[in-house]
Amino acid sequence: MWIAAPKGGVTRTSEPAPMQDNRGVPTSVLIVDDHPSFRLSARRMLEAAGYAVVGEAEDGAAAIAAAADLDPDLVLLDVQLPDIDGFEVAARLGAAPDPPAIVLTSTRESSDFGDAVAESPVRGFVTKGELSGEALAALIR
């Protein structure tokens, strides 16, 4: 079920060619989630909204490797991952020089995680059910 990952569980889906959407925000995206069905739906939705999905990662370790490798503008990061959780991944990505913008996502509500979202070095949080290009753009603008 897991995607084939030639480099640390990351699938490079296109050359990292940052694009600008009509609002002029950075739009190369790395999707990090352990559910393939979500990754597929999110990719379609973001690509339809003009984002360039440059890679996918299925767990925290793969996400950190992929971020270093692909240098995306935005990481869409699921909170519940099979190895380390999304907050830990966000902390590590945020500690790097010139870190990407990070948006956390989950099937749960932000309030289900207490203060963790607010204390995390991320741009924001969006539930999976409300994920859309517009919602992401609003957070990272």
Binding site: S37, F38, L40, S41, M45, A48, T107, R108, K128, G129
Partner: protein, 492 residues
């Protein structure tokens, strides 16, 4: 009242009368002295033996100790006849005088069973009776018992005169036989005591010790007699021996009393030990219950976590994907109807998946078919879904109480899950039967065996689930011989 009891009471009354008659004879005698000592020894011993004997006879009719004690008591009164001034009665006393000593040997050698177990013991007793009855009788025919050292004793009316030498020889022979006889009796008594376990010694020691002392004194008297010692020392040792014998019934009573006290102590000790054991067992049971309760609570939490995870990883993901697909469809309905239709097909696929996963989850929480259509239908469903062929061999008719039915279903479901995961089995059979107020469950497979109930939490959880219904779960899984899971749950 039983005939035995009536006979024993009659014997008791007879002994009382006999004692009173003896007392009259002693007090009226003009040759017995000291009368007080003679009367005391004869009455105490005579009544003592008869009383103890009748009691023992009544309590243990099958044991000869009672009759033997009684016989000693009655024959003891022969001694009183020797106080009579009537020559005939005096002669009868002389004939019967030694009989109680033979019975005493019989009694002590056979004590406490009342049986003569060994040939040597039987020989000893036979010789004792021979010396004291036929030999004494013959002796009386030729002797004059009152001849020496007894002023005023009546002469022997049955004496065949002119054979005093023969009488002397018989008397010597009696003495010479009696010495080893009494000595051997002492040895038998000592060996009996030494060979008995500590618990029996409580009863045996007073009787055997008194008997041994009495026989010892008798032995001294016999030796003194053979050595030609004076009448005085012989008489003193004889009276001492008689006095020791007179104590025997009371020694027996002391022994019985000690045995009862000992038994009481044993019972108390045993009760205390049992009480301690019960307390320990209770404590262990409470501890076991506490642990099991904690595991059940923990299993409840685990189950909720599992349900949450299943919902999150399963149905929820499909519903999220469905929602995103629908959102995409909305954006493309007009611009790209073909792509929108494709996305709608995918959305329906996600919806089907979500529905299927929700159904699976609900079944894991509690299978609706079990509630609605009973165990047989639910097991049929389990068998259909199992990747390993499952044969439902037997199921009970009718419905069982819901908790029992539910536990039965989950025992079988877990066992079949394990068969599918680990057993590498070709097939499995399931049997459920009601018998003896319980439901008996068996899941058997022909796989690799070697299952370890301690290793998996699934089986442990089942054990608790079954134990909560007072049931038992057993897993037999020898390597290479398949696995059999059996459970028994009370079900009235």
């Amino acid at each position: 009242m039983s005939s035995l009891r009536r006979a024993l009471i009659a014997l008791g009354i007879f002994a009382v009368l006999l004692g009173l008659a003896s007392l009259a004879l002693i007090l009226g005698s003009n040759h017995t002295s000291p009368k007080g000592v003679a009367a005391t020894l004869i009455l105490i011993a005579g009544w003592g033996f008869v009383g103890t004997g009748l009691y023992a006879w009544y309590r243990r009719p099958g044991n000869r100790t009672g009759p033997l004690l009684t016989a000693v008591g009655f024959t003891w009164f022969f001694q009183a006849l020797e106080s009579s001034d009537s020559p005939a009665i005096f002669a009868i006393g002389a004939i019967g005088l030694t009989v109680p000593f033979a019975i005493l040997i019989h009694l002590l050698v056979a004590f406490p069973s009342g049986r003569l177990e060994r040939a040597f013991e039987r020989l000893l007793v036979a010789v004792a009776y021979f010396v004291t009855i036929p030999m004494q009788l013959v002796w009386v025919l030729f002797a004059d018992p009152g001849r020496e050292g007894c002023d005023g004793c009546p002469s022997n009316p049955v004496q065949i005169h002119g054979h005093e030498g023969l009488a002397e020889a018989i008397s010597t022979a009696q003495g010479l036989i009696a010495i080893p006889l009494v000595a051997a009796s002492i040895i038998v008594i000592y060996r009996r005591w030494r060979g008995s376990p500590a618990s029996e010694r409580r009863v045996l020691t007073p009787v055997l010790a008194t008997g041994a002392v009495a026989f010892g004194l008798l032995l001294v008297q016999l030796v003194l007699g053979q050595a030609g010692a004076g009448n005085g020392p012989q008489r003193v040792t004889f009276i001492a021996a008689i006095a020791a014998f007179a104590c025997l019934p009371f020694a027996l009573l002391i022994g019985l009393l000690r045995s009862r006290i000992g038994r009481d102590e044993e019972v108390r000790t045993q009760l205390t030990a049992e009480n301690e054991q019960l307390t320990a067992e209770l404590r262990a049971k409470v501890e076991e219950l506490r642990a099991s309760r904690a595991r059940i609570v923990e299993a409840g939490y685990d189950e909720r976590r599992r349900v949450e995870r299943d919902l999150h990883d399963g149905a929820q993901q499909h519903l999220v994907a469905l929602a995103m697909s629908l959102r995409l469809v909305r954006g493309r309905l007009e611009s790209d109807p073909e792509a929108a239709a494709e996305l709608l097909d995918e959305a329906m696929g996600e919806l089907d998946e979500a529905t299927r996963e929700l159904r699976e989850l609900a079944r894991g929480i509690h299978p609706a078919v079990l509630t609605d259509r009973g165990l047989e239908a639910a097991l049929g469903g389990l068998a259909d879904r199992s990747p390993v062929p499952v044969e439902i061999v037997e199921t009970p008719d009718g419905r069982m109480p819901s908790p029992v039915e539910s536990a039965t279903y989950f025992v079988i479901a877990e066992a079949l899950t394990n068969v599918a995961r680990y057993a590498e089995a070709g097939e499995a059979t399931v049997r459920v039967a009601r018998a003896n107020g319980a439901v008996e469950i068996e899941v058997r497979d022909d796989g690799v065996g070697g299952a370890d109930p301690a290793a998996g939490t699934g089986l442990r959880g089942l054990e608790d689930r079954v134990a909560a219904l007072e049931g038992t779960l057993l897993i037999v899984s020898p390597a290479g011989e398949g696995t059999t899971v059996t459970a028994r749950i009370p079900c009235a």
